[in-house]
């Protein structure tokens, strides 16, 4: 589904990502782990068009993405969340969803100005889809809340719901459980599984080893901008290079 080859990016001499290649297969949950500053978010940012790669290629369903702006990549079917939550804080939960729902079918200016019946019908259909996604994310009763009034865990789940509302077929999640309580982590784990079960491919950056080990089909391990391992969780657990990279960090469970 997604094939990344020899991806590289430097910032003022610092090699954030130094020639990384991997593939994601349709329907799997692939996790990317690695110590702080390993280049995980930078890789995400290149895949989603926020950073222009210095070198390499990113092919999504047969199409080269390198060089496309973020909005075009979103339209192509890659949704994402951000490490530091990026909600539209002045909008309600429903309105946040609405922004995402127009990703592939924006209304016409004339339709909006004249408030044509088709515009109104469309809003009704969007409300239905919003309720459906919010329900899946456990936010069913929060639709009319100001998004900034949600709890931390809810905000993260709203970000996910919003990414799905773009009709993404590949979902990139950047540390979806950062700063969450164990209970919230459990909910998030179930939610990610639910999302995968609807046929969506998930690419996950995560520091929570327990979650990563139990949820992932495969794991890519990054350190200092390079990929040091790629395997199924049971192998990653005992991989010498991984253990070395994580020495003094979190224990590999």
């Amino acid at each position: 589904m997604l094939k990344v080859s020899d991806l590289a990016k430097s910032f003022a001499g610092v090699k954030a990502v130094a020639g990384v290649s991997f593939e994601i297969a349709k329907g799997e949950i692939l996790s990317m782990i690695g110590p702080n500053g390993a280049g995980k978010t930078s890789a995400f940012n290149m895949i989603t068009g926020f950073y222009a790669p210095d070198a390499g290629s990113i092919v999504f369903e047969g199409r080269e993405l390198n060089g496309l702006p973020p909005h075009a990549i979103a339209k192509a079917g890659i949704g994402r969340t951000f490490q530091n939550i990026e909600l539209f804080h002045d909008l309600t939960v429903r309105e946040n969803m609405r922004v995402a729902l127009q990703c592939n079918s924006p209304v016409t200016t004339i339709g909006a100005i004249l408030r044509m019946p088709s515009t109104v019908r469309r809003e009704i259909e969007e409300n239905r889809r919003t309720d459906e996604l919010l329900k899946m994310m456990g936010l069913a009763d929060k639709a009319d809340y100001q998004s900034s009034a949600l709890s931390y865990g809810e905000q993260r789940r709203l970000e996910m719901a919003r990414a799905l509302a773009t009709d993404a077929t590949l979902l990139l999640l950047d540390e979806p459980t950062a700063g969450m309580t164990p209970a919230e982590v459990g909910i998030m784990m179930d939610t990610i599984r639910k999302v995968r079960d609807t046929g969506i491919t998930v690419f996950l950056i995560e520091h929570n080893m327990k979650l990563v080990m139990s949820i992932s089909d495969r794991i890519v391990v990054m350190d200092h901008g390079v990929k040091i391992a790629e395997d199924v969780p049971s192998e990653i657990r005992k991989h010498p290079a991984v253990l070395r990279a994580y020495l003094g960090e979190e224990e590999v469970a």
Partner: protein
């Protein structure tokens, strides 16, 4: 449904307003409020909702006024053609100027828009063959629609009111449509907006062009209601006034620009008697408003209301 009833009630009240002791002068002032409200609504779309500053909106107000006046006088066209020409010209101009300018942000965008505003003013002053230079254009025909002349102050007031109501409905529909949410999305988080498939550049430029078209409508009305225009009235000071209307009423609130237009026009007119001191007092009053009502009149009222409401609910 409730909001439509409110709109009907307000428009009804504005229709009887002239009979509550209005003379030609007060009618003219009410008309000005309507005209400026249209421009401020447009500016609110780009500044309040989309978060992009424009310090040059007086230029589009001027272009609308001049195009409309020249279309009717020099080309002998009916008023409606002048108005449409003003809308089309300012929309296209806004699109052309917005496309490069809106790549800039914050203070740089502010300066670029000031620059364009000055270019327009210079052009109005110096291109005498077409614009009549610093003396401006006088004896502009009053508005006329399909043979109906708006030839009394009362009729002109109704004319402005009618156009303002249409402009408000267009603006309101935009705000509550996907455009409104998309504009706010761009303002709140450009990153997330682009991850939702929003082309930032196109969205900002569209907001800008729509807002300059509103300024064009205001300009056209101003030319034909005031019946005299000159470059002096369309400088940076006027651009700042327009921005002040948007801010004082409450940026990014639906009726903020209308309240702001009323406050600014009222202040400006009532301070005329102070002659030399009027700008000083005007500036001081604006500063006080900004300090004590930083969210704007409507914004603060909403906050107050929410607090009371929330309080009542928790009891």
């Amino acid at each position: 449904m409730k909001s439509i009833l409110v709109l009907v009630a307000v428009v009804g009240a504005l229709c009887v307003l002239p009979f509550l002791g209005g003379n030609a002068y007060t009618l003219h002032i009410y008309g000005l409020v309507g005209i400026y409200a249209i421009v401020a609504m447009g500016l609110n779309l780009v500044f309040g909702y989309t978060g992009q500053i424009s310090l040059g909106h007086a230029a589009y107000f001027a272009v609308g006024a001049y195009i409309s006046a020249m279309t009717t006088i020099d080309l002998g066209m009916p008023y409606i053609i002048g108005l449409l020409a003003a809308i089309v010209a300012t929309f296209i101009l806004g699109y052309l100027v917005g496309t490069p300018s809106l790549k800039l942000e914050g203070a740089y965008l502010g300066m670029a828009t000031i620059g364009f505003g000055e270019i327009v003013k210079m052009t109005l002053v110096n291109w005498e063959d077409v614009t009549r230079g610093p003396t401006g254009i006088s004896r502009i025909p009053q508005p006329e629609l399909f043979g109906l002349d708006f030839n009394t102050p009362l009729l002109r007031y109704y004319f402005v009111l009618g156009v303002a109501v249409i402009a408000f409905i267009v603006y309101w529909n935009l705000v509550r449509s996907h455009y409104g949410t998309r504009f706010v999305a761009v303002r709140d988080s450009a990153k997330a907006a682009s991850a939702m498939g929003i082309d930032l550049q196109r969205t900002k430029t569209l907001a800008f062009a729509i807002s300059t078209a509103f300024a064009g409508v205001g300009g056209s009305l101003y030319a034909h209601v005031n019946r005299y225009i000159a470059p002096d009235a369309f400088g940076l000071g006027e651009s700042i006034n327009l921005l002040v209307m948007t801010v004082i009423g409450g940026m990014g609130t639906l009726v903020g620009p209308i309240v702001g237009a009323a406050v600014v026009v009222y202040l400006r007119e009532s301070l005329q008697v102070l002659a030399d001191f009027n700008m000083l007092i005007y500036g001081l009053l604006l500063m006080l408003l900004m300090v004590f009502v930083p969210r704007g009149l409507i914004g603060s009222f909403k906050l107050f209301w929410q607090k009371r409401w929330g309080h009542a609910e928790s009891q």
